[in-house]
């Protein structure tokens, strides 16, 4: 059995995410004690951290074989099986782990995660709640409740769970990001945008922040499009009365439309954190269709400015074809997003790599 000190050193290196150094230490120790379960499951954890799933699974199996009564070995085995999309076996391994350590909150949390990845949301939720009972002050148990609820579409529970995480650890970037995702789903784009910017600030390595910002901007663009088309109605009504002649009424209607657009924009962007503009620009740069959408929206606003200045209402009729183009863009974007969603669901299991490091 390796010295406790050596194990602590390995764990410190894992905590620091110095996986290369940790792996070196473990392999050196394994050279003299190749059947040591403590070392083998730590090796599998390190390999999981570096996304070397096949190698990690091999090490986890060896750890289980070396000591079938070690819950940590079963836990890692379960996680690596999940990462390999072998959910049935993963749930068995996870069950073995919690049977051996039913009071260990981390093991229970991992089991909930494994069940969630296997699509057993109700079971996952019950296990995650048990983990919270075992460790109510551990943010990761609440995080798993939130993630499980989010997967099951229970936004209320997810929100409460993420708020609990942030109460316990205000600098938890993933919780901040996921809470923003809940805000987005609850059609609160301003709060979502603020949360995402905050998550990126807390930890710039937080994955998927910019893509979610882009999704929020799409949501906002729908609102803007609808607003622009609705605004067209009074302008064209006025236009039908005055024809192509300039009139003060048209000017006033145009100005009111612009003022309302300004108020709505202020309402949506008020109180956002510093640096939000930079984030929006970065998100726009990553999505060509989104850029096109906002360019067309900006063009429509310019048309309203021209109408407000000239008083010629029929000029606004150019917005109709633009609205049609914007709809086509939105449909294309939806189709593309559908493909991306498929890719993302394939990637979801890879998030397993971060569970052990929590």
């Amino acid at each position: 059995m390796p010295e406790l000190g050596a194990i602590e050193r390995i764990d410190n290196l894992r905590a620091l995410r110095r996986f290369g150094d940790a792996e070196h230490l473990i392999r050196t120790a394994l050279a003299t004690e190749p059947q040591d379960a403590l070392l083998l499951w730590r090796l599998s954890a390190v390999l999981l951290g570096t996304e070397r799933v096949a190698e990690g699974l091999h090490a986890a199996k060896a750890a289980v074989a070396a000591d079938s009564q070690d819950p940590d070995a079963h836990r890692l085995h379960a996680l690596l099986l999940t990462a390999s999309n072998r959910h049935q076996e993963a749930t068995h391994a996870g069950y073995a782990a919690v049977t051996l350590a039913p009071q260990h909150a981390h093991t229970v949390t991992v089991y909930a995660h494994v069940l969630r990845c296997a699509g057993r949301y109700a079971d996952a939720a019950a296990v995650a709640r048990r983990a919270v009972e075992l460790a109510p002050n551990d943010p990761e148990t609440h995080m798993e409740v939130g993630d499980g609820a989010l997967s099951a579409g229970d936004r209320h529970t997810a929100r409460t769970a993420y708020e609990n995480v942030l109460r316990l650890d205000p600098e938890h970037a993933a919780a901040r990001r996921n809470l923003a995702a809940v805000d987005f789903m609850s059609r609160r784009p301003r709060k979502a945008l603020g949360g995402l910017v905050e998550a990126g600030r807390i930890d710039p390595n937080t994955p998927h922040v910019l893509p979610i910002v882009a999704v929020v901007l799409w949501q906002l663009s729908w609102r803007m499009r609808i607003g622009l088309v609705i605004a067209l109605v009074p302008v064209l009504i006025v236009g039908s009365k005055y024809g192509s002649d300039a009139s003060w009424v048209t000017r006033v209607v145009g100005a009111v439309v612009l003022a309302l657009a300004g108020v709505v924009a202020w309402w949506h962007f008020r109180g956002l954190p510093r640096g939000t503009g930079r984030v929006i620009v970065a998100a726009l740069r990553g999505d060509g269709l989104l850029i096109a959408t906002y360019v067309f929206i900006a063009f429509c606003l310019i048309v309203y400015v021209v109408v407000a200045i000239t008083g010629v209402a029929p000029l606004a009729s150019i917005i109709w074809p633009i609205a049609i183009v914007l709809t086509i863009i939105a449909i294309v974007s939806r189709i593309a997003a559908g493909s991306a969603h498929l890719a993302q669901s394939r990637r979801r299991n890879q998030s397993v790599t971060s569970v052990e490091d929590r």
């Binding site: 602590e8 050193r9 410190n12 620091l16 650890d169 910017v197 990126g200 710039p204 390595n205």
Partner: protein, 410 residues
């Protein structure tokens, strides 16, 4: 001495003929042939040996020696002494300056006990002039750190503080450690590199003590540049270390040691290097600690030329158009460039072994290798882009933002 009919060589050749798969014997023959200046034959035997035992260190070393002899390049075993830049530092004056720095008794007492900390302190002879290219970095280093250190009165007049360390950050493999060594050379100070393994200890409380001993050793050896490599490992955000009290205590100890240097400039210049400054605990970036940051980017064109020439110097190279290769390799780190040259050398070696004669490296070989090797800085810049987008609220990363914009990465 020509030994075409040397009986020893003849008998060895006969032995090799009898046992062609005996690699050590073949290498022995090759060595004897090389000593007898029968270099082409020696090369052929080296190639044979490598075919039978690819990667054999002794065979590779001998091949390098024979290749160098064939191309007329001096071998590593026969180094030409290089003129060294003279350090124009007045050591006696420096020692007078620090003579009154008292060493705390507690530190002396601690040092008397058995300590795992090895004082690997050197006096580097490299200067910033030895760093190829990277004029921007040198200029900023001069303005933000070396200038005030050299002109303390002037710095004081402008309210610039002398306390606090310098944090070098940038993609991996871009020469941060070399620059830190050059800073020590410029200051005429000793250089004390500290890695994570020098500090982190397996026993509770020992890591903190190691840190204290390292600072004590630096004080004893002042003037000294104390260089923490990969400081993000020692000074990680404490919020990330909730489950490791020993690591949290190590961060606290580091903060405390840095503060103890704050008020009086006692001849210790603390430098840190990290690839991930955004992972550092924010307390480490406060005034008096690592309050100055210097971005060390991948080598520029001139630096790439210098690095490529450096790595080609001991290899049998024909006419290699280094400038063309340097143009092909923007964003390559120094380590990537070394990898490019070694990849090209492996190809040339394979060709040499097949043909049985030395085929020197050509521009085409290196170009092909440069196309094959991907710059390792890519993932770093992906994260850096996020940092600039989300976390540059106080302008700490303006240099980085400007570089990313210039290179259309933002």
């Amino acid at each position: 001495m020509a030994m075409a009919d040397d009986p020893l060589v003849t008998s060895l050749l006969a032995a090799v003929g009898a046992a062609p798969d005996d690699v050590p014997l073949r290498l022995h023959v090759a060595e004897a042939l090389a000593d007898a200046e029968r270099l082409p034959e020696a090369l052929a035997h080296c190639s044979e040996a490598l075919q039978r035992a690819p990667g054999d260190a002794a065979a590779l070393a001998l091949l390098q020696r024979v290749s160098a002899a064939l191309s007329g390049t001096p071998t590593p075993a026969d180094p030409t002494p290089e003129p060294r830049a003279k350090t124009e530092f007045d050591w006696s004056r420096a020692e007078d300056q620090v003579a009154d720095v008292a060493v705390p008794e507690a530190v002396l007492a601690q040092h008397d006990e058995a300590s795992p900390v090895t004082e690997d302190i050197e006096r580097p002879s490299v200067r910033l002039a030895d760093v190829g290219g990277m004029e921007d970095v040198k200029e900023r280093l001069e303005l933000t750190f070396l200038g005030p250190m050299r002109n303390p009165q002037l710095a004081k007049a402008f309210g610039a503080t002398m306390s606090g360390g310098l944090l070098l950050y940038g993609p991996p493999g871009c020469g941060k450690t070399f620059i830190a060594r050059a800073v020590a050379g410029e200051l005429g100070a000793r250089f004390y590199p500290v890695g994570i393994s020098d500090v982190l200890d397996m026993w509770a409380g020992r890591s903190e003590r190691n840190l204290a001993e390292i600072f004590a050793a630096a004080r004893r050896n002042s003037p000294c540049v104390l260089f923490f490599d990969e400081i993000d490992a020692l000074g990680q955000k404490r919020s990330n270390l909730q489950f490791s009290s020993s690591l949290r205590n190590t961060v606290n100890q580091l903060l405390s040691e840095l503060d103890s240097l704050g008020g009086n400039n006692d001849g210790i210049f603390v430098l840190g290097a990290t690839n991930h400054p955004w992972d550092l605990d924010s307390a480490l970036r406060r005034p008096g600690r690592f309050d100055r940051m210097l971005l060390v980017l991948p080598p520029d064109f001139d630096a790439r030329v210098a690095i490529l020439n450096y790595h080609l110097r001991d290899r049998p190279a024909g006419e290699v158009d280094v400038a063309t290769i340097a143009k092909m390799t923007p964003h390559f780190s120094g380590a990537d460039l070394a990898h490019v040259v070694s990849t090209a050398a492996e190809r040339a070696l394979a060709v040499s072994m097949k043909s049985g004669r030395l085929v020197p490296l050509t521009t085409k070989d290196v170009e092909a290798a440069a196309r094959e090797v991907q710059p390792s800085t890519g993932p770093w810049f992906a994260t850096a882009r996020n940092v600039v987008t989300f976390a540059n609220t106080d302008g700490s990363y303006d240099d980085l933002a400007s570089y990313l914009r210039r290179n259309k990465r933002l």
